[in-house]
């Protein structure tokens, strides 16, 4: 019991230190924000082009296959996947750096194994709040692109929690091996 308490204390201390030293910083929101609902001229031109290409299949189908709604959905998807990417947090988005975006590192790369182990140690039922928290932030990021808005900063707490879980799992495994 005492051992478990000590382990938790050490993990929390480590996470607090991490919180202080990690490069993940909040940044001011940039004024010009592109929403998925606002289609660019290029996107409108692409819709027309695709409709022209697919007119030979069927004009009604071409409008069903590519239209403003599909383009907006595509924008949502791009925003979502740009934030739903481990490399964005652990490798300053390498190898998929974006043109015109200053990519910054958020968490140290060496924390990634602990993060992955922590992810797998999450329990879908007992860790519902954490999973919900992360899901809400990712959904917000789908609307407010992380190129302009800084909602992903609120992921820092659940991410550190997951890293902490990973560290505890590793410690537990090592402790079990030594005890045997």
């Amino acid at each position: 019991m005492k051992n478990i308490f000590l382990r938790h204390c050490l993990t929390i201390m480590f996470l607090v230190i991490l919180f202080i030293v990690i490069p993940w910083r909040g940044r001011s929101v940039l004024p010009a924000g592109n929403f998925p609902f606002n289609l660019s001229r290029q996107q409108i031109a692409e819709i027309t082009l695709y409709q022209n290409i697919l007119n030979s299949v069927n004009p009604a189908f071409s409008r069903f296959y590519t239209n403003k709604a599909t383009a907006i959905f595509k924008n949502f998807k791009i925003n979502f996947f740009e934030s739903f990417d481990l490399n964005h947090y652990f490798f300053a988005n390498h190898p998929l750096e974006r043109v015109g975006v200053k990519e910054t590192e958020k968490l140290f790369s060496w924390l990634l194994p602990f993060f992955i182990i922590g992810l797998f140690s999450l329990n879908l039922k007992s860790h519902k709040p954490i999973i919900l928290w992360i899901s809400i932030i990712f959904l917000l990021n789908s609307v407010f692109s992380n190129r302009y808005y800084n909602f992903e900063w609120y992921l820092i707490i659940p991410f550190l929690f997951i890293i902490g879980s990973g560290i505890e799992s590793v410690y537990k495994k090592i402790h079990e091996k030594i005890s045997k």
Partner: protein, 557 residues
């Protein structure tokens, strides 16, 4: 009672055979439909594969006159040999063409689906619904379909890896070491099919050896004999791997080479240690192969080796991927499958991740199999999760709709969007060019060599006699076949000259000149009495692919 039970079992078997046949039929239709349509493009690597197979068939030598090479020099990219040698069969039967060149890959893709079914069935101890789902996910996967619809060596090597794994698993199940040995031979064969498998195949096979070590060590004599056979089969590829040609891909692409550009150089707090940064870069490249962004979101940067609007899997499969990963790692039911699937999952991207490309779909192709299994786990467990029969039916219906929609989208991409959007990258127009040039049998034709390696398309589409080509142009690169990177920029074969355009010379000789839109503007040709525009070949967006111009010597009259 016995008859009823027997009948039920018989009908059940019959049902699954029919289901499997339907999956195979679907896989074959998606992979073979309009495979030979020249308006969908034909890449230069495919042309090189086809023509070299044709050349070996006709003369026993490749385009450079090398007798039965172990690596095909081609554009000094030193292609793995197995696909080319196997393509000789369809080319012999069907003649040299787009279909016969792509046939081996499309067939490999169709067979891979069936093999995936049986492999999963073996390792899950006869779980047919799950095996069916895994095969279905692979059947409709844009990643697998894309590489089955082109002459890609990596697709053949994926099939060989599947055969190898199936044999090893089956051999261990029925306790027949000979079947296991057969599997290991296929592992070696896969390295003859694609360069990347020189890294991936030994890793997966090594893991299986370790996994079955107790059983294999029971008969040490057989083990020694097995290693002897494998050693003998590996010697040629090992020997050739030591030549500069064999190492060319590794040297030119590896992130560990001194020329490799490292990221994060201008960021604060980054260590300057090159080794550490390279290792970190490799780690980033490796994890990128599991990133949902790469797997489920389209990549607009990759023009030639990908579809314009689809990712390697469908976006709707993301939840099943995430749930599948968790369930596959955590659930006891999958404990027996993990030793077979996890090596595939972890080792498949190794070769690809040591190259600098952000997400090389061709090099990491074996990854499509374990990821399909993971997604299938997600779907299968979700079906089980719904307790009520009605919910199961609704879920199944939604799933069927998603699959139908995905298939329509996939075919639209292949048949309409890709040929339009990526015409340049897929080198449309060469087939038509070949036909047009064939109508000038007695004219000297000069092909501009300033962009691309178009000579191979000309050889392919005119079915140029390989014997004549080897004699007149191929020999130029024969000395130091495996060691030199020099490429003959100027070639002369038959009526064709592949060189820079010299208008004064062309006009003097009255040659036919072929080039892209930059060779000369339309206005310039029309305003020049010494030039006659014979034909323009256009891309689907009406931009110029080729101009065929007759240069005239006005002084001769």
């Amino acid at each position: 009672m016995f008859t009823k039970k027997f009948m039920k079992r018989y009908l059940n078997n019959y049902f699954w055979i029919l289901t499997l046949l339907s999956v195979f039929f679907l896989a074959a239709v998606i992979r073979f439909y309009q495979l030979d349509n020249p308006d969908h493009g034909f890449y230069l690597d495919e042309a090189a594969i086809g023509y070299n197979a044709y050349s070996v068939l006709k003369t026993g030598r490749d385009e450079f006159g090398k007798s039965f090479p172990l690596l095909f020099r081609s554009f000094t990219d030193f292609k793995a040999p197995l696909y080319i040698y196997l393509s000789i069969i369809p080319i012999k039967i069907l003649g040299l063409g787009i279909f016969s060149t792509r046939f081996i890959s499309a067939l490999s893709g169709s067979i891979a689906v069936i093999l995936a079914y049986f492999l999963i069935k073996f390792i899950t101890k006869n779980n047919r619904p799950f095996s069916f789902l895994a095969a279905l996910v692979l059947t409709i996967s844009p990643w697998h379909v894309f590489y089955s619809r082109g002459a890609w060596e990596s697709n053949l090597s994926l099939l060989l890896l599947l055969v190898a794994t199936s044999s090893c698993v089956y051999g261990s199940m029925i306790k027949k070491r000979l079947v296991f040995l057969l599997g290991s031979i296929f592992f070696v064969l896969s390295t003859y099919a694609y360069h990347g498998q020189r890294i991936v195949a030994p890793l997966i096979f090594g893991f299986y050896l370790f996994h079955y070590r107790v059983w294999l060590l029971e008969k040490k004599k057989f083990l020694v004999l097995g290693f002897l056979v494998l050693g003998l089969l590996t010697i040629p590829i090992l020997a050739i791997s030591l030549t500069p040609g064999g190492q060319s891909r590794v040297k030119s692409l590896s992130i560990f080479s001194p020329q490799s550009v490292l990221p994060w150089q201008n960021q604060d707090g980054q260590p300057n240690n090159r080794t550490l940064t390279t290792l970190r870069k490799w780690f980033a490249l490796y994890t990128a192969y599991f990133s949902p962004r790469n797997l489920f979101s389209e990549d607009p940067a990759e023009k030639q080796r990908w579809l314009p609007d689809l990712a390697v899997f469908y976006s709707w499969q993301l939840p099943f991927y995430l749930l599948g990963l968790v369930w596959f790692i955590k659930k006891k039911e999958y404990a027996s499958s993990r030793p077979f699937i996890l090596p595939w999952l972890f080792f498949s991207p190794i070769a690809a991740s040591i190259t600098g490309d952000p997400f090389s779909t061709v090099r990491a192709l074996p990854l499509v199999f374990p990821l399909s299994v993971i997604i299938a786990v997600g779907i299968y467990e979700s079906i089980i999760f719904f307790k009520s029969k009605n919910l199961k039916i609704i879920f199944g219906g939604v799933l069927a709709l998603m699959i139908i929609f995905s298939l329509v989208s996939l075919m639209i991409q292949f048949l309409y969007i890709l040929p339009y959007q990526r015409a340049k990258y897929w080198e449309l127009g060469y087939s038509q060019l070949g036909k047009i040039l064939a109508s000038f049998p007695n004219q000297k034709i000069v092909i501009d060599n300033s962009r691309g390696e178009s000579y191979i398309h000309i050889l392919f589409f005119t079915k140029f006699d390989p014997k004549i080509y080897q004699k007149e142009a191929g020999y130029l690169e024969l000395p130091n076949y495996y060691s030199s990177y020099e490429r003959a920029a100027v070639k002369k074969f038959g009526q064709f000259e592949y060189r820079p355009i010299n208008w004064a010379k062309e006009e003097k000789e009255g040659n036919i000149v072929v080039g892209d839109e930059l060779i000369s503007s339309r206005e310039n040709i029309l305003n020049n009495p010494r030039l006659q525009l014979l034909e323009e070949i256009l891309y689907p967006d009406q931009t110029v692919a080729f101009r065929i111009i007759k240069a005239k010597n006005l002084n001769s009259h």
